[in-house]
Symmetry: C2
Subunit: 192 residues, 2 copies
């Protein structure tokens, strides 16, 4: 991997990067047990294993001082009344932050820390969102179009997906006639 | 300082942040000895101690894992034939990177590492530029309008301005009839 400076360009209409090292494509089947309405999840999965979101990463060595950056695209859609969303994760090295810059679309970032404090930030174009160290984060697309954002985090942060897979987030984002609603997740359970 | 998530919005026309913790305003007088044409520097300074650039910072604790972000605005202008530019610096903790996202304007980022390798990246809106660990960096506004960019770096990086103040960068960016030219800096000198 180069130790020289480099650049990449974000397409002005889509936000997609002109180059990247990894492209991760997350389908519905990778989110078993994560959505509130499990019957709707099964029904949708039998119709089509849809792509929920895509991540374009510019990789760097996993050492302190390096930064990993890239673009995420959360596609619009719902599983029952729950919006398409990312798996969500803590950083494996818990004491690491992340910075987001929203490029397109609408949505919410659902966050919580191991102490059980919860926070929801609203995505809107031109907004920078700071995820402090210790806060798990999930992106939810509440709009009719792709939600696209730039992100950067310490390259030694790593990902802990397992904690969220086991216990879920405390909060859900559900469509309602009055717009997106933030609800307590009745299926949340403490890590065993 | 809060350990909860927070956000700030970038004005779509100016790129300026809706809030910040520190605003640094760098005037010509803070750049003594940095411009190639010292006679032009003195002449301009006697006319007016103009503002060369401004930095808006969202502060975070200076510890590993936290990230400092913000916006820089380099105003257009020249000292003789040399474009307005930032002081430029190494990070005090040398092995730390920085990521830029260009919002408005045109320019060049001049970089070098302690081994004497040099690199120049071009600023254009929508471009992400990666400054790897070990690379000093200076922003040069080569256009007629403000050069505005978002940046983020590890909060424990710190700044070493002194090395550049003493030795300069290896490369200069000078206006010419055929556009901005990158030249060797005849006044560059190794750190004593």
């Amino acid at each position: 991997m180069t130790n020289r400076p480099f650049n990449y360009d974000l397409d002005p209409s889509t936000g997609l990067p002109s180059r990247y090292d990894h492209h991760t494509l997350r389908k519905l089947s990778s989110m078993a047990g994560q959505f509130f309405d499990q019957a709707a999840y099964q029904q949708l999965l039998e119709q089509e294993d849809v792509v929920l979101y895509e991540v374009y990463e510019l990789s760097r060595p996993a050492v302190s001082g390096e930064l990993i950056s890239g673009i995420s695209v959360i596609h619009p859609g719902r599983v029952g009344d729950e919006f398409f969303m990312t798996k969500g994760h803590f950083h494996a090295l818990l004491e690491t932050a992340e910075v987001y810059v929203v490029l397109h679309g609408q949505g919410m970032m659902v966050m919580e820390n191991p102490e059980g404090d919860c926070s929801v930030e609203t995505y809107q174009p031109g907004r920078v969102i700071y995820v402090p160290p210790r806060w798990a984060h999930r992106s939810v697309n509440t709009g009719p179009d792709d939600l696209v954002f730039f992100w950067v985090y310490p390259a030694n942060a790593g990902h802990d997906y397992g904690t969220i897979e086991r216990q879920g987030f405390h909060k859900l984002v559900i469509a309602s006639t009055s717009g997106p609603q933030i609800l307590d997740n009745p299926r949340w359970k403490p890590a065993s």
